[in-house]
Symmetry: C2
Subunit: 137 residues, 2 copies
DNA sequence: CAGGATCCCAGATGATACTG
DNA sequence: CAGTATCATCTGGGATCCTG
């Protein structure tokens, strides 16, 4: 036990950490919920069902890849349902499941919090930045 | 206006999107809140003030880089305060500000939601995976 | 003990082209 | 229209070394 110490211990800690996370179910969900696009898609669908192309426009800026990937994840987690209408130009609608709708107020709560405290955060940032810039003497 | 179309339009959309995000204050905060480590540090500090090294142990698995980076971000946003005690081996304590404490219940709410609905999500995932694996025939 | 500076890898994400 | 496959990229995050 001489050739390795800090590195190995760190490695162990990380494995233990991962195991901890793996064992914590809520953590896995939190992972999904904190995804950049999930919240946006959730917000977009909160207004009602939407077609793929509509979502692409509403969440403007997302690539097909990310949109599809996000939708698939959400579908897998039971947050949204996918309805295929085999018309000539295929039509696919996405809508929130009851589980997904259940989540909307949660996200809005965070958004509200953010809006309410935004000025405080802004102030904190400016104070931090200016003191850092001037060497805070 | 012939050599470029889809690509350029996409670019425009992205710029517009970024502008939108920049203009949406809550979004910027959401960015911070959804950070992988922020929630963990927040939880770690919820129990009370903590030294740098303690945090490193509590959030086991995080590297100094990420821990420092996370703490700096949170400090800048006014979520945590940093107290330096110029003793011989420098001592630095971090604690949640009132703003940060205000955020704790929010995060716990999400965690609760996740725990409550975890089984539903698990079920959805299994259903999704098995139907996908069997070709969903 | 705290943390800044660097180097580096891997996964996340974007752009494009192609298909049903 | 919806979605997949691939290639290129870009940033997050980890390991290390160094300083106050």
């Amino acid at each position: 036990m001489a050739t390795q110490t800090a590195a190995q211990r760190r490695e162990e800690a990380r494995l233990a950490y991962n195991a901890y996370l793996a064992g914590c179910p809520s953590r896995k969900l939190l992972d999904t919920l904190s995804d950049k696009w999930v919240s946006l898609v959730l917000a977009a669908l909160a207004d009602g069902p939407c077609r793929y192309s509509e979502l692409a426009r509403t969440v403007a800026g997302v690539s097909q890849k990310m949109l599809t990937q996000t939708l698939r994840t959400m579908e897998r987690d039971g947050l949204v349902s996918r309805t295929i209408t085999p018309s000539v130009p295929v039509r696919v609608d996405y809508r929130l499941t009851s589980l997904g709708e259940d989540l909307v107020p949660l996200m809005q709560a965070i958004k509200s919090w953010a809006e309410i405290h935004m000025d405080e955060v802004e102030a904190a940032r400016q104070a931090y930045d200016s003191s850092a810039a001037s060497g805070d003497a």
